[in-house]
């Protein structure tokens, strides 16, 4: 095999990394390099330095250390049975790419994952060498996200947490049975144990000892995971129930949903469908409602008998259409919880309503200026000068929001 140059390796190993949805660089500790002895800063919210034509944010240098892998996960381009071209970065190459990209303001930092080579421990050790070099030799203070190898020794994962802002382990598929079917070498119980270890270790770091000192900072931006959507037969209700459990049990910062997308050299086991992007989008919206709007999984997935989300209207609107008896809601009197359930009102709009209505009674135009989407909300609210009349219960209300059926054409 001809030796690959740096550019060829970068092409192969970023191509292999693009199926990981996360590119977040937010929510870590504040750091800077004002002392002149290091490079980089993190200031709360992350920065998207570019957008690819798939509309996704490019915040981190997201690469695999190597795409050699001894496992055979059916959905993955790197599985041992695929004929994809293989490559491997040296420690030095990853460090130099990260630093040189960072200095030119292309990225916020590094998201490093890897195929499994030789053994899980060996793979994790090599990844740690990269993180350690960045932090201790280059004095890099930007963002580092490491994808941990679930079967690696707990000490290695613990060390990773000292260098990284975020750790992630992908649960990959929504149910244990699907994992067994499509990722035969992976063990869902081991994945959960690794997440539990990280959570426990993070809890310890957050506690103050008797002297009042905190432990060493440990994954300040927390852990996240990813589930592939549409490769197996799981319903949205199953997926969201799994997410709720993950958020609860391991205090995950994010669960990412990744629409199963065609890969080069696919296996015959999985059909090459068009990635279900609309479904992925609805899942993110539902996930948001679960975490910030006080909805329960059952409420969100009750709208349809098959346990899937409505693809035509967003989940909050779908819920409101199903529960019209609760509407219209008076924006000048309703509780915060109820305001949050109004379609077209975001958390910010609700905050503004609450602070302004202390001083005066709100009108339709006021809501517009506060950023509410009244096209959606108007059927569900009353205001000082607004009442929806029969709109709330009108039979064609849903049709106003759902896209018109596609025109049929003769062929």
């Amino acid at each position: 095999m001809a030796r690959l140059d740096l550019s060829q390796k970068l092409a192969i190993l970023s191509d292999a990394a693009r199926y990981d949805a996360s590119c977040a660089s937010s929510g870590t500790t504040r750091r800077d390099s004002r002392d002149g002895k290091g490079l980089g800063s993190t200031e709360g919210s992350g920065i998207c330095h570019a957008y690819a034509p798939d509309g996704r944010c490019i915040s981190l240098l997201k690469i695999l250390m190597t795409n050699f892998c001894i496992y055979d996960c059916a959905y993955c381009i790197n599985r041992v049975s695929s004929n994809v071209q293989r490559a491997r970065f040296s420690v030095d190459e990853v460090v130099q790419l990260t630093i040189e990209f960072y200095r030119r303001n292309y990225i916020e930092g590094l998201f490093l994952s890897s195929g499994i080579i030789q053994s899980p421990d060996k793979t994790m050790e090599d990844m740690l060498r990269i993180a350690k070099r960045l932090r201790e030799v280059e004095n890099f203070r930007g963002y580092i996200h490491l994808k941990t190898i679930p079967d690696a020794a707990p000490e290695l994962i613990e060390q990773a947490g000292l260098y990284a802002d975020r750790l992630s382990i992908n649960v990959e598929l929504p149910t244990d049975n699907s994992v067994k079917a499509y990722a035969p070498e992976k063990n869902p119980a081991t994945i959960r144990r690794a997440m539990g270890d990280v959570k426990a270790r993070k809890d310890i770091a957050a506690e103050r000892s008797f002297s009042g000192k905190r432990g060493k900072r440990f994954v300040p931006a927390g852990q996240s995971t990813q589930m592939i959507v549409g490769a197996d037969g799981s319903t949205d209700a199953t997926i969201l129930a799994q997410s709720t459990q993950l958020y609860g049990d391991y205090k995950l910062k994010r669960v990412y949903y990744s629409a199963f997308s065609p890969i080069p050299d696919a296996t015959a086991k999985l059909p090459l469908i068009k990635p279900p992007l609309a479904r992925e989008h609805r899942l993110y919206q539902a996930d948001w409602l679960l975490r910030f709007y006080g909805f329960g999984v059952d409420e969100i997935t009750a709208a349809r008998p098959d346990g899937n989300l409505d693809l035509e209207v967003d989940p909050k609107l779908a819920w409101a259409l199903q529960n019209r008896a609760l509407f219209p809601v008076d924006v000048n009197k309703a509780s915060k919880d109820m305001l949050l359930r109004i379609p077209g009102f975001g958390t910010r709009t609700v905050g503004r309503i609450l602070s302004t209505r202390r001083h005066r009674s709100l009108r339709y135009d006021d809501l517009l200026r506060m950023g509410a989407s009244l096209k959606k909300a108007q059927a569900f609210i009353t205001a000082h000068d607004w009442s929806p009349g029969g709109l709330t219960d009108s039979a064609d209300l849903r049709a106003r929001f759902a896209p018109p059926p596609e025109q049929m054409s003769l062929f």
């Binding site: 970023s14 800077d32 390099s33 690819a52 034509p53 041992v80 990209f101 292309y106």
Partner: protein, 279 residues
Amino acid sequence: MYTVPLPRIGTDIAWRDAAKRLIGAGVSPDEVLWNFDTEMDTLFATATPLPPISRRIKAPQSFVEMANWVVWHKDPQRFARLYALLWRLRHQPGLMQDRADPDLAKLRQMEKGVHRCKHKMKAFVRFRDLRQGGERRSFAAWFEPTHHTIEPTAPFFARRFADMDWMIATPDVTAQFVDGNLSFHPGQPKPDLPEDATEALWGTYFCNIFNPARLKVSAMTSEMPKKYWKNLPEAQHIQGLIAGAEAKVQEMRDTAPTVPPERAAKIQRQLRGDPSTED
């Protein structure tokens, strides 16, 4: 009538100082003309000296913070609008909480515009290596912001890139960071920066992290509007990626599943701990 000249560098401090004096002396908004960087015809610029700082008027902290952003907006009316709101605040102290007041809403919208511009500058500035040798490395960039945003944004770059020297040139104002000191200078036309080989690697990354099966051009352009493309080295690849996406996906679909490479079976047997395969 007062005409207040406001400089291009240090606009925020100059506006605040003038507003303090005028409001303290009870000068109403229609008696003030704000003249940014002598944009106005100097014919009207009768230099009435500003009133001295007499009594201190209290303004809500939220107003002060908002004003610190709005002064960098490109709208020539920004100073007058700010002063008019400050004037109203004297008798309507709760005004800042009224998120639906049209005057305040307009200023909040301008504030948001400056925030967004600052955010885009943090994201889209692209440095080139000047390869000058010496102890500290040096980099330079050319950027064209929508508003006058370089001054409030430069400290971000100073916190982040403190171990190197850098310059960000804009048509308006140039920020320079040398040996740990940040300074501002008059703007300039686009400088001739040396080629930087790392841009090609960045282009390679941009092309390969893109997933052609998920093409969604509008989502990209809403966050990375075309007006920024000319100064983004990766943007030269966008048209080609979009044009080739469909064919790439089709190719994946058309390729029949291949036979696994020979080593696959061997590795898998080893993984399962089958002793007969040890060689």
